[in-house]
Structures are given as C-alpha cells and as structure tokens.
C-alpha cells in the first residue's frame, strides 16, 4: 500500500512538472518580446532579455581627446573629461589601454603608462590623463573599459513605434477593417442560417451542401479572380481598386461559409415548440427571427464574432492583396511585415510593434475565452 501511494505521489509530481515544462515553453516566446519591448534599446542588443533584471555589462573602447584639449596644471599637462561623452549613466568597473588587456586597472586607480604619464578613470566615467611633457599629435589615447549599466525599463519604444513608425496609424486602419468585417457577416449569416434551419424551400439541402463544401475552399482560389474583378471595377467606374469597402466585402465572403455553418447548427438546435407557439400567435418569420431567434442565439453570435474578429485582425494575405500599402490603408500585420524588412535588426522596434499587434487579440481572447472555446467546439466537433 505504501509503495502504491509513493508511486502515485511520484507520478502526480511528474504530471505537475511535465505540465509546467509545457507551459513554460509555450509562454516564454511571448514573454520574451514583452520584456524586450520595455527595455532600453541599447540594452536589448547588449544582453539577452532573460538577463534584463541583472546589470548588463559590456566592454567598450573609446578614444580620449587629442592633444589640443590639454591644459597646464601644477606644472603638468592634463587632459580631463568623461569617457561617456553623452553623460550616459553607467558604472565602470575596470579599464585598460591595450586591446589585449582591456580590464587591466581597477576603476579609480591610476594607471602608469610609462614616461611619467598616468591615467585615472573613475567609476562614473571621468578621467584624468596627466603627463610631465606636453601631449602631441591629433589622435588621443586609446582606452578600453568594462562598464555595467543598471537595468533600465522604458516606455520610450512604445512612443517611438506608435508615433514615428506608423504603428499608431496602422492600428486605426486595422480597426477600420476589422469592425465592419466582423459585423456585416454576422447579420447576413444569421438571416441565412435561420432560413436554412427553419424555413422550407426548394434547394435547401443543396445549399447546405455547397456551404459545407465552401468551408474548406482555400482562400488562394479566390485571390486572382477577385483581384482582376476589383481592378476591372476600379477602371470601369474610375474609382480606386483598393478600398476599405472592397476588403470588408472580401472578408465577409470568406467568413460567410463558417458563419452560416456555425449559426445554422446552433439555430437548428433551438426548441421547435418556441417557434411553433410564436407562429400560432401570428408572428411572421421575420418577427420570430428578430424577437426570438436572435436573442436566444447570443452565445453563438458572440463565438463567431470573436472568431471573425481574430481572423480579420490577424490576417495578412487578404490585406496585402486588397488593400494598398500607403499609410492611410496599411494594416498592422502588413506594417509589421514591412518593418521586418526595413528594420530587421532593430529589435526594440520589432518587439514593441509585435506586442502592439497582439495586445488586442489577447485582450479579446482572455476576456471572452468562454465564447471562443464554445465556438471552436461547435465548429469542429460537429463534423466528427
């Protein structure tokens, strides 16, 4: 008996550890960009984000001012100043004058460079170079130093990308695309779903089969003909071919099969008695739909709304085909993709922009997870 409890304790402990490992692997990547987006941009490249709470240390090289900066003091020639020209707040722990030994001397101590020349570099970066003879030449003394900076967190990156990198504007564009592209299909699909579930008309079964078939038609099939169609309409009427109206309708079209499928299976499951008693009371189909079916279908409407919202917000392909890349139309995902090309190495910009693009879906997701999961289950388990 004792052995069996021991075993079950070990195996239970193992389960906790295993789940913990999965959770860590799945969260670390997102955590990485969140932490990085809040770091100082110099520190991002100086150390990994997992070290961001420790002081970052690095070895740098610099050149002291040339002979022209010297002054005479107590019979010696002196050059004074600060190795951090811009007054950055860093701590120097050690310095040196040879590349081979960059941390030969402790900060605050005076290094003897020979010929009576001495150099002292203090922890705050101030230095004194003195010599009994006048300095010559227009190249200053080379100096190496190991410095460490305290962890520095800032919201500067967010200000930068929102205002200067076009992310703020794209954020608005994404909202402009997403909200109508979420609401329009719901309305259209809800009416169609009701008709397909509760009204008798010829061709209904065929229509349902077509919609289920369209569920899996790859988006790629639609792109070229629609691009041609849009260009044609644009030329014919003399209007731009890339418009918000165009992308709303495109997203509506691509979202409709799933919307109708999801809504129909829910609405078909509503109790028949309610509809029939309403009909006996003289309600028309329109009244039944608006007054009974719509309120009862709220959960499934919410599920679909979340799906469509996430799908449209996160979409890149449709936006790249049907919208322009000018600042007044480019959406967040396309802007992020453009930044990946133009700012490939600027991680402070990329991580911050990426985090801004995912913040809305994450909020929607966490606040409405219940509906999202329900929609997911209804949408796929139905088929099996």
């Amino acid at each position: 008996m004792a052995a069996s409890t021991g075993k079950s304790f070990a195996s239970r402990f193992g389960v906790h550890i295993a789940v913990l490992v999965f959770v860590v692997i799945w969260t670390i990547p997102t955590l990485g960009i969140l932490v990085s987006s809040l770091r100082d941009k110099d520190q991002i490249i100086a150390s990994g984000w997992w070290n961001s709470f420790a002081s970052s240390s690095q070895t740098e090289a610099g050149r002291l001012p040339a002979a022209s900066a010297q002054t005479q003091k107590d019979g010696k020639y002196v050059i004074e100043g600060n190795v951090f020209g811009d007054g950055a707040k860093r701590d120097i722990s050690a310095f040196g004058v040879k590349a081979a030994a960059p941390t030969q001397y402790k900060a605050g101590s005076a290094a003897d460079l020979g010929d009576g020349v001495s150099l002292q570099v203090n922890a705050d970066g101030s230095f004194v170079l003195s010599s009994p003879k006048a300095f010559e030449g227009d190249r200053g003394q080379r100096v190496y130093y190991a410095s460490s900076a305290p962890p520095k967190f800032t919201t500067e990156n967010y200000q930068n990308v929102l205002l200067s990198q076009g992310i703020g504007r794209s954020f608005m564009n994404s909202l402009t695309v997403t909200i109508p592209a979420t609401v329009i299909p719901i309305l259209i699909a809800a009416f169609a779903a009701y008709a397909l579930a509760w009204m008798r008309f010829p061709g209904r079964a065929l229509l349902i089969a077509v919609i289920i078939g369209l569920l899996v038609v790859p988006l790629q099939m639609s792109l070229i003909p629609l691009l041609k169609l849009y260009n044609g309409v644009g030329t014919f009427f003399g209007v731009p071919s890339k418009t918000y109206l165009g992308i709303w309708l495109a997203h509506t079209g691509f979202g409709l099969p799933f919307a109708i499928y999801l809504l129909r299976s829910y609405i078909a499951g509503l109790p028949r008695e309610i509809m029939e008693s309403a009909r006996i009371d003289g309600a028309s189909d329109f009244e039944i739909f608006v007054k009974i079916v719509l309120p009862l279908s709220f959960p499934v409407l919410a599920s679909f709304a979340i799906f469509q919202f996430l799908w449209v917000w996160n979409d890149l392909l449709v936006a790249m085909v049907f919208l322009g890349t000018a600042p007044d139309q480019i959406v967040l995902t396309a802007q992020l993709n453009a930044l990946l090309g133009s700012r490939g190495g600027n991680w402070e910009i990329l991580t911050t922009s990426a985090f801004i693009t995912i913040i809305v879906p994450l909020t929607v997701f966490f606040s409405l997870q219940r509906y999202f999961v329900r929609g997911l289950l209804a949408g796929s388990v139905k088929g099996g």
């Binding site: 239970r12 790859p218 099939m221 639609s222 070229i224 041609k228 079209g253």
Partner: protein, 337 residues
C-alpha cells in the same frame, strides 16, 4: 487621424445600417405586396403562402450573392485562368502545369509542403492530446490550458516576429540575444543562423505553427476526453491497466473521430500556410511553400495569373479529399433533421 476615425465610424454605420435596412425593408415590402392582415380570410391564406415562397430567398439572398461572387465564381475562374497565359488572354492548354512540374521552386514547394503535412498536424495533435490528458489531472489545469491556448490568438506575423527573435543570430564572440543560440552557446555549441539552413529551416518554421495550433488541438481533444464515460476508465483501473495502457487502449480509440477532425482541420491550415514563410524567409534558402509561391507569382513582374492560378488549383486538389469527407460527415449528421 481624427478624420479617419470619423469616416470609419461613418462607414460602419452606413454598412451595418444598410444591412439592417435591407432585411427590414425587404420584409416590409413583402408584407405590403402580399398583405396577410386586414384582408379577407382566403386572400390572407393565399398571401401568406406567397410570402412563404418568397421570404426564404430574401433571407438567404444576400449570403448567396456574396458567396457566389467571392467563392463560387472565383473557383471556376481560377480553373479557367490556369489554362491561360500570364495576362489571362490566350489559351495555353496544360503549359502552366507542365511548367510547374519542371520548375525548381515548385518542386521544392511541393516537397516542403509534404514535409509540413507530415509533421505539423501530427505534432499538434500529439502534443495537444498529451497536454489535454495531463492538465485534466491537476488543479491548475485550467490556467495551464489558457496559457498553452494563448498563441492561437496571435497573428502568424506576430508569431513570426516572436520566433525570429528566438532564432536571432549574432556573430561569433558577440552576446547572443536569441534564446536558442544563447542556450546552444551556454552548452558549448556553435551558434547558427537557423532560418537559413536549407532543409532544416523548414522545421524551425514549422515550430511556429505547432506553437500556435497545439492549443487548438488541446481544447478540442480535452473536451472529447471529458466525454469518455467515467465507468470505462474505472473498469480499466480495476483491471490493473497502467496509465499508458489506459491512454493508448481506452482513451485514444474512444476519441478517434475527434482526433481525425483535429488532424484534418490542421491539415487544411497547413496547405494554406503563407504568412509564416513570407515573413520569416520569403521562400529563400529552400523553404518555399505553395501558398507563398502562388502569392509570389501573383505579383512577380506585374503578375503571372496563369501560373498563380495553376498553383492555387494544385492547393485546391490537395484539399478536395478533405472537402468530400467533410460533406459526407455533415450529411450523416443532418440526415435526421
């Protein structure tokens, strides 16, 4: 910006209002043409019947029009375009398909797509199943599930940035700020430029999709697992089955249908994968896939619609078996309704 917010709100009201106005107005109009109230009994019955004939079409009409324009017509048109030249003007027979068979990029894409199809659905389903089983046993399982589920809300582009940061490579001797290379270096290995290693880079791109989709598989499978009757599991425990036997011989066979659904759903997704490849490598270093190749041909040098359409058709052909299966399953379901 303010102007855009204003115009956005304005068009939202117009668009949504237009929809509402259509459904409400069409319905009113129908009531006016065939009045059922305030007319004699037999006329009312007649009119009600006529209304019943017309109204379903008012309800499904907008959906049918949009589906026709945005999905049905394009499918036919894409098929037609695949037999035409780059501008879509001259008939070229199977030339585009012949080109595809001989094209190096296309072959590479097919190879990579098969690789993706072999790895991603299996990995997502397997990991999702494992996590679903494990999290069902512990008190903080719900939180754990939420966290594994979270990447599903992230766009492919956002996920690509996240993982590009993990794969980031810095020259030797520099501080590695990419997590993967930092770990490799910590254990004394050589840092690599992971996404430009031909063949292997495919797997580094797949990890991104697996990271996103495992949560999906987990949620669906977790709910299926909860549907397994308690007694079955208890009986197995009493018979002395160990956890692995319970998992493989009791749980997995019972949720086989759900596993198939998850598998096929992810398979379709994999066939359409585009954003990840575009943002990570844009098909360089032999990592091209069909969807990205198609996008490339749509716009390359002014666009070659014939070849683009051909690639789309090939993606479609790969999807058809799943489509047929879907319709069959659905028909089985709705047969009783």
């Amino acid at each position: 910006m303010a102007a855009q917010i204003f115009s956005a709100i304005f068009v939202i009201i117009i668009g949504v209002g237009g929809c509402v106005a259509y459904f409400w107005g069409a319905n009113k109009l129908l009531d006016l043409i065939f009045p059922s109230r305030g007319v004699s009994g037999s006329a009312a019955v007649d009119n009600l019947r006529r209304q019943g004939l017309v109204r379903p079409w008012l309800f499904v009409g907008p959906a049918m029009i949009i589906l026709t324009i945005y999905l049905i017509y394009p499918v036919i048109e894409t098929l037609r375009l695949s037999f035409l030249d780059r501008g879509g003007e001259h008939f070229v027979g199977f030339a585009n398909y012949q080109w595809a068979l001989g094209d190096h990029d296309f072959r590479n894409s097919i190879f990579n797509n098969i690789l993706w199809l072999a790895v991603v659905p299996a990995a997502c389903t397997f990991l999702g199943l494992i996590i679903a089983v494990l999290t069902d046993k512990i008190w903080w399982g719900t939180i754990a599930k939420s966290l594994v589920f979270l990447p599903l809300a992230i766009s492919f582009v956002g996920a690509s940035v996240i993982w590009k940061f993990i794969y980031e490579y810095r020259g030797e001797g520099q501080v590695q700020i990419g997590l993967l290379n930092a770990i490799i270096q910590y254990f004394g290995g050589q840092p690599q430029v992971w996404i430009s290693l031909p063949f292997w880079n495919n797997f580094f791109l797949m990890i991104i999709l697996i990271w996103i989709q495992t949560g999906f598989a987990m949620v669906i499978l977790s709910s299926a697992l909860r549907g397994i009757p308690e007694e079955t599991l208890e009986a197995a425990v009493i018979d002395g089955a160990n956890p692995f036997q319970i998992f493989w011989k009791i749980m997995v066979p019972q949720i086989w249908g759900t596993i198939a659904v998850v598998w096929t759903t992810i398979t379709i997704l994999v066939l359409k994968v585009f954003d990840i490849v575009l943002t990570m490598t844009n098909g360089q270093w032999s990592s091209q896939v069909l969807a990205n190749l198609m996008f490339d041909w749509m716009f390359r040098g002014g666009g070659d619609f014939g070849r683009g359409a051909t690639i789309a058709i090939i993606i479609m052909i790969a999807v058809i078996p799943i489509m047929v299966w879907n319709i069959r399953q659905a028909n089985k379901e709705t047969g009783g309704h």
